[in-house]
């Protein structure tokens, strides 16, 4: 990456109903995003259930930066930059584990899991100017909301919950489908690699226009085998005449609400291995609460996207890890619900159902994103359209005071770019550039 001496301006690349193709193809813009967008705003780092006990840690990325998310002995979360302050080597080389200290393998400088430099071998080799207190690990500002751990370098931002705004209430609704249940991520991941810019994935996460077309294979397979009636029927026909909506959650966050289309969750669920057996067992165990328990097997009917890297879809959590301007890792974390009054058979079914869309839906999306990346390399056709429903008069102030629109509205794209422009114009500490 070249050092930015003066900050470029991007306003001319983001117009009211279109954005410029180079935002997806220019690697210098990508480098700036990794510095300013990832870490310049509250950015999702990890979920508390990935590091459930004191002194647990997970290794993650924040843009291109290797980081460690730790839980100290008192249970507080920390976001540490995984870089020895001595000569630059990463100090943590495991994806997860438990450690009170991280010792750099190179010269054994040792850091606590809160980031302080604890010990240096043969310390007498340093003179009076050596100050261990100045040589702690780089640290992020970290806060969590109901298990979702976010970090930023930005000291100007308000607290996390204020920043999330209506997205916090929507997270509550997503988490409280079975009141009192604890959401756990430690149930494996489906990990994709896409030869496309990371924003193509974010763009799609609140795209209610595409499912009936992009997911023709899934819809046709279901219909050919099961005669329709299950899963995603709301994607067919003129979706704007249906009950789904899109909304602006603020600060680049967006939301598709499908819930009004789902009369009975379990009955409209996609097929999954083990369905008959575990439906019977859950009915035997739960009696008149069985229907409600079966309903939480199925996805939530919510797509909640928290700028810039957290996409909640169905029962899953997707995290975007940009690798380069035209390569993105997309990690789908499976979730389980744990509660005394919910039998684990629900999770046996949830695991199988959470393989359905990653098998029959997401791959077709990723194929289309990759073809977008190919097409966007064409210099002569410069613009990407973002203006659907911009001037149809169909937008309104909806639930929670959010600007809302019919589900095919490209409002989410416009919301994204507004926030993107704001973040790219500031350094990652929140200062003007």
């Amino acid at each position: 990456m070249s050092i930015q001496t003066s900050s470029p301006h991007f306003e001319h690349l983001v117009e009211e109903g279109r954005v410029h193709r180079t935002l997806y193809t220019d690697s210098s813009i990508f480098d700036l995003e990794m510095s300013r967008v990832f870490g310049g705003t509250w950015t999702f780092l990890a979920h508390a259930s990935e590091l459930p006990k004191p002194n647990d840690f997970v290794r993650k990325r924040l843009g291109k930066r290797p980081i460690i998310v730790t839980r100290d002995r008192n249970g507080n979360f920390h976001g540490l930059l995984n870089r020895c302050t001595h000569r630059g080597a990463t100090i943590c080389r495991h994806d997860e584990g438990s450690a009170r200290r991280f010792t750099c393998p190179y010269h054994n400088w040792s850091f606590t899991n809160t980031g302080e430099l604890a010990a240096v071998p043969i310390e007498e080799g340093y003179g009076p100017s050596f100050d261990k207190a100045q040589l702690g690990l780089g640290k992020l500002r970290v806060e969590s909301y109901r298990g979702f751990i976010f970090g930023t370098f930005n000291t100007e931002l308000p607290d996390l919950k204020t920043h999330l705004g209506p997205a916090a209430e929507l997270l509550d609704e997503w988490l409280d489908r079975w009141p009192g249940a604890e959401l756990q991520l430690r149930r494996g991941q489906t990990k994709f690699s896409c030869a496309g810019n990371w924003k193509l994935i974010y763009d799609n996460a609140a795209d209610g226009y595409h499912p009936g077309y992009s997911h023709a294979s899934l819809l046709r397979m279901r219909k050919d085998r099961y005669g329709g009636g299950v899963d995603m029927q709301w994607a067919l026909g003129n979706v704007d005449e249906g009950l789904q909506t899109v909304a602006d959650c603020g600060n680049g966050g967006t939301f598709i609400d499908q819930r009004a289309e789902i009369k009975r969750y379990w009955d409209q669920s996609a097929p999954m291995p083990g369905e008959s057996t575990y439906e019977r067992v859950i009915k035997e165990k739960m009696g008149d609460k069985a229907d409600a328990a079966l309903d939480v097997v199925m996805g939530s009917g919510m797509n909640l996207n928290i700028f810039p890297n957290l996409l909640i879809i169905g029962n899953q959590i997707q995290v975007l890890e940009p690798q380069s301007v035209n390569k993105t890792h997309i990690n789908w974390y499976a979730t389980a619900l744990v509660a005394d009054d919910l039998p684990d058979e629900v999770n046996s079914l949830r695991m199988r159902l959470q393989e359905d869309f990653p098998s029959f839906g997401e791959p077709d999306d990723l194929a289309n994103f990759e073809e977008c990346q190919v097409g966007l390399e064409i210099e002569e056709v410069e613009w990407v359209q973002t203006g659907r429903h911009l001037d149809t008069g169909k937008e309104y102030i909806g639930a929670k005071g959010m600007l809302s629109g019919p589900v095919s509205d490209e409002l989410p794209l416009r919301v994204f770019w507004k926030e993107w422009l704001k973040r790219i114009a500031q350094d990652n500490k929140g200062g003007a550039k």
């Binding site: 149930r187 990990k191 097929p271 999954m272 291995p273 083990g274 199988r352 393989e355 791959p363 990723l366």
Partner: protein, 213 residues
């Protein structure tokens, strides 16, 4: 058996699959327990196949590879028993019964007979854009050994594999690891009851793993 223009599909059509299993009835706690037990047995010390075992089991695995490479999915489907599973764990460094446990976590693929049918119907819709253009594969299997199995009705064969995949517009991808096949006799015919594909890079991000291993 009806005549079919494509000899690779002879006797088995998409229609057969559409009418096949539409319920998922046999995946239960006992079935998952069997998979965990399998993982322990896959860890065992194998014996190279006898000439007779080669002619039956190695031949079947090689035939399976050939059908997949020829994209004869309908015929491939019929190699599997009524209560089968095609399983690709998302964790590496297997066998390990606890870490691999599919009842407790998501996998890259966990297809019972019904979902396996869904997958083939999905591949054949002609609008699965991740398979347009389609993937072509070359399967190589080697190092076949037979593992001791507690269940005398079943035969366990472990092998190493190398699969290359090519899709127009994309670089050739290489996948490797080991596979476990569990064979049973169903109505006098030897069928694959369970196949587990343990990828060397199972825990890593994959690019368009929508073809069959």
């Amino acid at each position: 058996m009806s005549m079919n223009a494509n000899p690779m599909q002879d006797g088995f059509t998409l229609e057969d699959i559409l009418r096949d299993t539409l319920e998922s009835t046999y995946i239960n706690d006992a079935y998952y327990a069997k998979l965990r037990h399998d993982m322990g047995e896959w860890e065992g010390c194998g014996t190279v196949l006898t000439a007779e075992e080669r002619s039956v089991y190695e031949s079947l695995i090689l035939h399976e590879n050939w059908l997949l490479d020829r994209r004869a999915f309908e015929k491939w489907y019929q190699l599997y028993s009524r209560e089968c599973v095609y399983w690709v764990p998302a964790v590496g460094d297997l066998p390990d019964a606890e870490r691999a446990d599919p009842q407790r976590q998501v996998t890259i693929a966990f297809d019972d007979r019904r979902r396996l049918g869904d997958r083939i119907v999905w591949l054949r819709t002609g609008v699965a854009y991740s398979q347009l253009p389609p993937s072509y594969t070359s399967h190589i299997s080697t190092s076949f050994v037979r593992l001791p199995s507690e269940n005398a009705e079943e035969v366990k064969i472990r092998s190493q594999f190398l699969v290359q995949e090519m899709r127009a517009g994309h670089e050739i991808q290489t996948f490797s690891g080991w596979m476990g096949h569990v064979f049973v006799k169903e109505n006098g015919v030897i069928k694959i009851a369970r196949k587990v594909v343990c990828l060397l890079d199972a825990p890593r991000n994959h690019h368009n793993l929508t073809f069959l291993l």
